[in-house]
């Protein structure tokens, strides 16, 4: 016979202000099978938990129903207490009186009545609960880091320094990401390369890190602790073991006019190239889409001049299979370019540039060696207009969010310009200045107060070119919305930060969710900001949302801590609330397999002792199953069930609702 205990919590006044808790406890005591029932002000407090523990022992309870807040909040608390009293924790259930009743209704008899009904439903369920035991899965203690920007670099170094193996996959020929392209960084104006390159080198030399550059993720299978990943190593056409990095090939390559990605299109590179002088690895790859040898079958100059015989045109893409226990996505972000803006000329004015282009112009290693020269004619600009929120916070352009980094880098850009040209005129059009962060607002104030940057509050309606000048038509909303026209030599758009164009594809390979703008979604916006909804896959940096370097690095270290915590165990313990198959009734149709969003359903052959095949049935991989129940709903022979939410339990709850009022007593 069931011996159920009911514990009704007031949650301070959260529940008791609209629900008569004592009355609920009283009604519950009449439910069949309930042998003990009590209410208390804070059930989650120590004395509250003790009430439960004592009752379990004293009344030899076989099931516990705590009527309190959401199970998301305190289920672990009460299950732990139950276990401490010697009862299997999965025999404890929670009725959510707070979110489902007291918060959404007024104080009325019917509110109390509803609360009592919610308790009764759970009492009926818990009668059918079974003892369950946590699942254990082994862990491969190697992490995969996808993306070698500052986010990926930080996560990889932290994990590697904790003694675990790391595999880093970077799609470009060098690691470094956007930070490698920056000139100086806010809020301290230290040189970006100077602080980044030592870390890049550390990654390359770290004994625990294996680096694959010019490589991408082909496929991901498996589950937390046990991922099986295939990496596509794109053919570099250069044997990096043999190559000495002398650079003769680059010098001799006749194809030299390819727009240079690293310089944001402002310079040129050859078909065989190292993206930038401090690249890691500092060895070239051949860009086959532009190489004459690959396009026309002729040339071969680089091979001829290479003293190390490192050029291998016949090299092919290679698929490398690795086993990892955790994955960190750190693939960063992209920005919109000036051709995105019809009202700013559809990209037809060469001197209307984006922020990254400005970084390259300002960078000592950039195409102009740090002298600000405008792209159209190489003239040094006397007047620059900076436009904040270009494309951001702009629902009409499909980007309603704030890109977060641009207020700060715009102030930085204006400052850098003024430092290079003291008499220059720097104008910033902005809507709000978002400079929340340590030393951030001070930084912006410095631009305004010390460097005399003219901040005008208003959006720019259009830009056109006249006699070699760009005419910027804006407005000063702080001056009676007076229209303002500024003649500029160059305009820098702080364009919206967006997700990478391939981020959706990668998210689908990883089976992680993403937001409408294709940034990867964290598991909880506040409490689980570095994990994804897929166990074992975490996030670092701007692939989750636009972020600056300090935020990226913090998140990367947070992610590394999560990975290291995972790797600190030899086996993984998981809640057993997952699906299981009844082999006797399964007909092997595998409809379930086709719908499982976590690819947790495999095939299992049932054989006689002599080895003859009886049938093939579905088998749930306990490491992958998230207990979502999609398969249960679909299985026609009703052969799948979910531990903790079995059909029997659900039927018991539903039929309890149908037999209403019997015990209501109100």
């Amino acid at each position: 016979m069931a011996r159920i205990g009911v514990f009704v919590c007031h949650c301070g006044e959260n529940i008791s202000s609209t629900v008569d808790c004592a009355k609920v406890a009283e009604i519950a005591s009449n439910y069949p099978g309930v042998v003990y029932s009590i209410d208390y002000k804070y059930m989650c407090s120590d004395p509250g938990q003790n009430l439960i523990k004592e009752a379990i022992q004293k009344h030899k309870l076989t099931g516990v129903v705590v009527a309190a807040c959401s199970p998301r909040m305190h289920e672990p608390t009460f299950r732990k207490a139950t276990a401490e009293a010697g009862l299997n924790p999965f025999l404890c259930e929670m009725a959510n009186l707070r979110e489902h009743c007291s918060w959404v209704h007024f104080r009325e008899d019917s509110t109390t009545e509803k609360a009592a009904e919610l308790v009764r439903v759970l009492v009926e369920k818990v009668k059918h609960n079974e003892e369950l035991f946590p699942i254990k899965v082994p862990i491969t203690k190697t992490a995969l880091v996808i993306g070698g920007g500052i986010g990926g670099i930080q996560a990889a170094l932290d994990i590697a320094n904790s003694g675990h193996k790391v595999i880093m996959v970077e799609k470009n020929p060098s690691i470094g990401g956007k930070m490698a392209q920056l000139s100086e960084t806010f809020p301290t104006l230290d040189c970006s390369q100077c602080i980044l390159t030592p870390r890049m080198v550390e990654v390359a030399q770290h004994p625990n890190i294996t680096l694959y550059t010019y490589a991408e993720i082909e496929s991901v299978d498996g589950f937390i602790g046990n991922f099986k990943v295939t990496i596509r190593q794109k053919a570099k056409s250069v044997d990096h073991k043999a190559c000495t990095g002398c650079g003769l090939c680059i010098e001799k390559c006749p194809i030299k006019k390819i727009p240079d990605e690293f310089n944001a299109g402002l310079g040129n590179r050859a078909a065989i190239y190292v993206p930038f002088p401090q690249a890691v690895p500092n060895k070239p790859v051949i860009d086959r889409n532009n190489c004459t040898y690959f396009l026309k079958g002729k040339c071969g100059l680089c091979k001829k001049v290479c003293p190390a015989d490192a050029i291998h045109y016949e090299q092919e893409d290679e698929l490398i299979k690795v086993d990892v226990g955790a994955i960190v996505a750190a693939t960063g972000f992209d920005i919109k370019h000036s051709d995105f803006f019809p009202e700013y000329g559809y990209g037809k004015y060469a001197d209307v540039i984006d922020g990254l282009q400005f970084e390259r112009l300002a960078s000592a290693s950039g195409p102009t060696l740090g002298v600000l020269k405008r792209p159209s004619d190489g003239k040094e600009p006397e007047s620059i207009v900076f436009i904040a929120c270009a494309g951001s916070r702009d629902p009409a352009k499909g980007i309603p969010y704030c890109s977060k980094i641009c207020c700060m880098y715009t102030a930085k850009h204006a400052m850098l310009f003024k430092h290079k040209n003291h008499h220059g005129k720097a104008t910033v059009f902005y809507m709000d200045i978002r400079a929340g962060g340590k030393m951030y607002d001070e930084f912006v104030r410095r631009a305004i107060e010390e460097d005399d940057v003219n901040y005008i509050r208003g959006r720019v309606s259009r830009i056109y070119e006249k006699n070699g000048k760009l005419i910027v038509c804006g407005v000063d909303t702080l001056l009676n919305s007076r229209p303002v026209e500024i003649e500029a030599d160059m305009v820098v758009l702080a364009t919206a930060a967006i997700a990478n164009s391939d981020s959706e594809e990668l998210a689908q390979k990883l089976h992680i969710s993403y937001d409408p703008y294709h940034f990867f979604s964290e598991a909880h916006p506040k409490l689980r900001p570095v994990e994804t909804n897929t166990a074992g896959i975490m996030l670092a940096g701007a692939c989750q949302a636009p972020k600056d370097i300090p935020d990226t690095v913090s998140q990367a270290s947070g992610t590394a801590a999560k990975v290291v915590a995972l790797f600190s165990q030899d086996e993984l313990t998981r809640e057993p609330l997952i699906a299981y198959v009844n082999n006797n009734t399964c007909v092997g149709c595998f409809l379930c397999q086709s719908v499982c969003p976590y690819l947790a359903i495999e095939k299992e052959e049932i054989r006689r002792r002599d080895g003859t095949l009886v049938k093939t049935v579905a088998k749930i991989n306990p490491g992958l199953c998230q207990g979502c129940g999609t398969c249960v709903a679909l299985c026609r022979s009703k052969s799948i069930d979910i531990h903790g939410y079995t059909n029997r339990q659900i039927y018991a709850e539903v039929s309890a609702l149908f037999n209403r009022r019997e015990y209501a007593g109100v």
Binding site: E343, C389, R393, D394, P395, A396, K397, M431, R457, G458, R459, V460, S461, R462, C473, G474, V475, D476, T477, N480, S481, R482, P483, V484
Partner: protein, 192 residues
């Protein structure tokens, strides 16, 4: 047209009427000023488009009154520049149309806008009578309404010589039908 009487408080904030009647949400405007920056007339207006929206957003009878008495609403050319570039997709010209008819209905028209309305009225009268616009008739009627007798006198003879002015109006056959359309539309406007 302009009544000097003290401000009668509006029963319902204009912004609610705008939402109910033409389904435009003035609260969407976040005061970036891009409309004013691009509006060909913001330099001439007493209140620029974003300022009119700001007044409406406050939802205060005094502010609503200022909007209806403003000259800006009469200068708007419905060129749609503001709307087409507005990041928040505020259809401002649509709101302007509403404000103009509201301003007339509540007799709050800015004194300097009288001529503009007189012109619009003369224009509509010309159509009401004949079904089409008769330019000579329009100008004559407008001049009588505003006493701007000398305006554009230099244009008329030249237009006539170039065969661009018809002295006599063309009356369409369905002019009674047109008159009935006017009657019904005007009645409807009075009723709501």
């Amino acid at each position: 047209m302009e009544t000097k009487s003290k401000i009668e408080p509006l029963a319902q904030p204009l912004k609610e009427k705008i939402l109910n009647e033409i389904n435009e949400l003035v609260m969407k405007c976040y005061q970036c000023g891009k409309c004013a920056a691009g509006c060909p007339l913001s330099g001439e207006m007493d209140y620029t488009p974003n300022q009119i929206l700001r007044l409406l957003q406050i939802g205060d009878p005094l502010c609503d009154d200022e909007v209806l008495r403003s000259m800006g609403i009469w200068l708007c050319l419905t060129c749609d520049t503001c709307h087409s570039r507005c990041p928040q997709e505020v259809d401002f010209p649509h709101i302007m149309d509403f404000l103009r008819s509201e301003s007339i209905k509540r007799r709050k028209v800015h004194p300097k806008a009288k001529e503009i309305i007189a012109f619009h009225r003369s224009f509509l009268e010309s159509i009401e009578k004949t079904g089409r616009l008769h330019e000579v008739g329009l100008i004559a009627s407008y001049k009588l309404k505003t006493f701007n007798l000398l305006q554009d006198v230099d244009l008329a003879p030249k237009m006539f010589v170039k065969g661009k002015l018809e002295i006599f109006p063309h009356r369409i056959k369905g002019k009674e039908a047109i008159a009935r359309i006017f009657e019904k539309a005007m009645k409807e406007a009075e009723n709501d």
